[in-house]
């Protein structure tokens, strides 16, 4: 029964989506005329390659540096809240803080009186590769930290560090030369997911990325709307797949290149670094991260009420509620749509992950499998484009929910995996010896025991569904606008004030869900249900 369920889940949520996307890739050319237009792709492709490589490397380096200080468990809650802020809302908020006339420059002026006009050479113009890179970095580091902390729990790395320090190595060198080589292979899947996300995310570069020419994903997105005879969008999809493959190989090279380097360093380096300065990167990261999320929300809130507000003033000169009052009738239905879509998708994705993991638990198969995570390693753009060509654009309802579940499922699997496969059979036997059948013991003991993990998975899936832009837009074909599709379209239209209202609402939905489900410290948080 459980086995059949598990197989069904993988068929419906992993195999089917793949097969459904394939035909469009090969037959969309309608025979003639697929001809690459090199001048169209050259700049976007090279821009994207540079962006992806540098963002991934930076995420990896800073993530590992921070992980040294956060370790295996503390601050888990902060990380998951950071993760749950939808990236569109996050991008709009960061924009309000960092743009040339944003809160940051205003704050600098208020404190130092040095910037009487918006600085011309400000390194973070509203739309640029750099701004895009910063937002991606801030979104992806928490994801890597989440994975790193679950993986660290399976390594006795604290003992290694102690042992190494007793042999005279500094804590920092011991971390990079001893723990990181063991940790790195375990981060491979997460890094691959980060590469793919950076390569193919559409909504963030639409808001913050360079305009002419854009990055690869936005060019594919724009070409898709042109319906030109030579079908450049399909060419773009092939570019995405090609880059994915190349970047995977590079990542593999990076990961297998690290151990030899480390061996070299172990033999030739001093045991402690001669420089005394310490980049205590991780120490304040959680505080900074939590503070940044709050600042983003505060900026969104302030901007949504702001009236006239001329440059150097830190605060708006006037406040007005009219934007809220006039927009509310439009926003409310959007919130409802997003809400029910996310509730259903999250429930289904959580149940699906439970089915797969329960099968793994019963067969004592504890490792994390790549198959349930597969959708994280394929550019979303490629899949959604394929589905849309197959099913048409007007398919709301079941098709849309299915697409959301497909993208939520890898996350519920990730979040539930550790707790689920490690729960001890002992509890079930104990309950059975007290007179409960296996089924009763499962529902009344095992499931409540894992309540916290289930709630976390549901909340994460909920926020993943809220954040879905491309599937909602392309599969529903505009017939089912959600808070996210509207927020993107308003923000990419340049109305940052109106956008901040929508972005705020988009960020609030998952936040409410997290507070409802995980706000109270549940009893079993303190308890380890494994052996």
């Amino acid at each position: 029964m459980v086995r059949a369920l598990s197989v069904a889940v993988l068929l419906i949520l992993v195999v089917m989506p793949l097969l459904a996307a394939l035909p469009a890739l090969f037959f969309a050319g309608q025979g003639a005329g697929i001809r690459a237009n090199w001048s169209l792709w050259l700049v976007p492709v090279s821009q994207t390659v540079l962006l992806t490589i540098s963002v991934t490397l930076l995420v990896l380096l800073s993530g590992l540096a921070i992980a040294r200080h956060i370790g295996d468990s503390r601050g888990f809650a902060v990380i998951s809240v950071l993760l749950s802020t939808p990236h569109v809302a996050f991008a709009v908020g960061i924009m309000l803080l960092l743009s040339p006339s944003g809160y940051l420059t205003r704050l600098v002026h208020t404190l130092l009186h040095t910037l009487p006009t918006p600085p011309a050479g400000w390194p973070l113009p509203e739309k640029s590769v750099l701004t895009l890179a910063i937002v991606l970095l801030l979104k992806e580091i928490p994801f890597l930290l989440l994975i790193a902390s679950t993986q660290l729990r399976q390594l006795p790395y604290q003992q290694w560090l102690l042992q190494a320090q007793s042999l005279g190595w500094s804590a920092r060198r011991a971390w990079w030369l001893l723990v990181v080589p063991a940790l790195l292979p375990r981060l491979k899947l997460a890094l691959a997911a980060i590469v793919i996300y950076t390569l193919s995310v559409v909504d963030i570069p639409l808001l913050l990325g360079p305009n002419m020419p854009g990055v690869l994903a936005t060019v594919v997105y724009q070409q898709h709307y042109k319906w030109s005879a030579d079908n450049q969008a399909v060419i773009g999809v092939w570019w995405l797949l090609l880059l994915s493959a190349v970047l995977f190989l590079l990542l593999q090279g990076l990961l297998s290149g690290y151990p030899p380097l480390v061996r070299l360093a172990r033999n030739h380096w001093q045991k402690t670094s001669r420089w005394r300065w310490h980049l205590s990167a991780g120490m304040g990261f959680l505080q900074v991260g939590a503070g940044l999320s709050l600042l983003v929300l505060a900026a969104l809130l302030m901007e949504s009420f702001a009236g006239a507000r001329f440059y150097p003033a830190l605060w708006p000169q006037q406040w007005q509620a009219s934007r809220w009052l006039t927009e509310w009738p439009y926003i409310w239905p959007l919130l409802l749509t997003s809400g029910w879509l996310a509730l259903i998708s999250a429930a289904l994705a959580t149940a699906a992950a439970i089915a797969v993991l329960e099968h793994q638990r019963r067969t004592k198969n504890r490792s994390m499998h790549w198959l349930p995570l597969l959708m994280l390693f394929i550019p979303q753009l490629v899949l959604v484009l394929g589905w849309q060509k197959l099913a048409g654009a007007g398919s709301s309802g079941p098709m849309l929910i299915w697409s959301h579940v497909v993208f939520c499922f890898p996350y519920t699997y990730l979040v539930l995996h550790g707790a689920w496969v490690n729960v001890s059979d002992r509890w079930l036997y104990q309950a059975q010896s007290l007179g409960y059948s296996y089924r009763q013991a499962w529902w009344q003991v095992l499931l409540p025991m894992l309540k916290h993990a289930v709630f976390s998975a549901f909340a994460v899936a909920f926020s993943v569904s809220i954040a879905q832009y491309l599937p909602t837009l392309w599969l529903a074909g505009g017939t089912l606008p959600t808070i996210t599709t509207e927020a993107v379209s308003i923000a990419s239209g340049g109305d940052w004030r109106l956008a901040s209202l929508y972005a705020l609402m988009q960020a609030l939905l998952p936040l409410v869900m997290f507070t409802l489900l995980l706000g109270r410290k549940t009893k079993q948080q303190a308890i380890d249900v494994a052996h």
Binding site: K364, D425, R426, W427, Y429, Q430, A431, Q432, S433, L434, G435, Y436, S437, Y438, Q440, A441, Q444, V445, P448, M449, K451, K523, Q524, A526, I527, D528, V529
Partner: protein, 215 residues
Amino acid sequence: MLRIKSLRISQHQQTSQQTLLLALPQLTINGGEIATLIGPSGSGKTTLLRWVLGEPLVGFEQQGELWLNDQRIDHYPIHQRKIGLLYQKGDLFPHLSVKENLLFALPRKYNKQQKQQRSEQALATIELTSKRNAMPHQLSGGEQSRIALIRSLLAEPEALLLDEPFSALDTGLRASIRQWTFAQIKQRNIPALLVTHDEFDHGDGPIINLGNQHA
């Protein structure tokens, strides 16, 4: 009365051979009696216990009969065997309070009021009424052991398995908890099977040394 007849448990090897793990021609434990299984680790003590409880033994070949009060039960699922279980640690469900743990164990035939009464009574006999609403991790080792035992007994088992129940306790506490546990079993007049690697922990019934078999 718990009776094991001609039990043989063998282990599958990779080369499709089977090695005999343990053989037990005959064991009878009368009500109120505590039989003790001793032997070095790897001698199959825990496997025997798991077989009696009814856990699925993956990778083992097993034959033999298990009788409880003149009923053959070796084909029954765990929950129908009426055999209680006491592990050495982590007995209490960590996500339930003391009271909830006890209520969970009580047979379904009692109504709500009777359940309340019985669990309160049980707590009173071990003088832990004040810990009613505590969570397991807030209790000391000795308190956990005592509550775990009365929880097993509240389910009204007809036999009891004890898997090194005292080894997590410190020496001072150990003797008194052991005495108290054995007294409870005597009072209920149910057969008990104790697994231990400490000879001082043994009960008054037959002692089976599994270590001799491979000699």
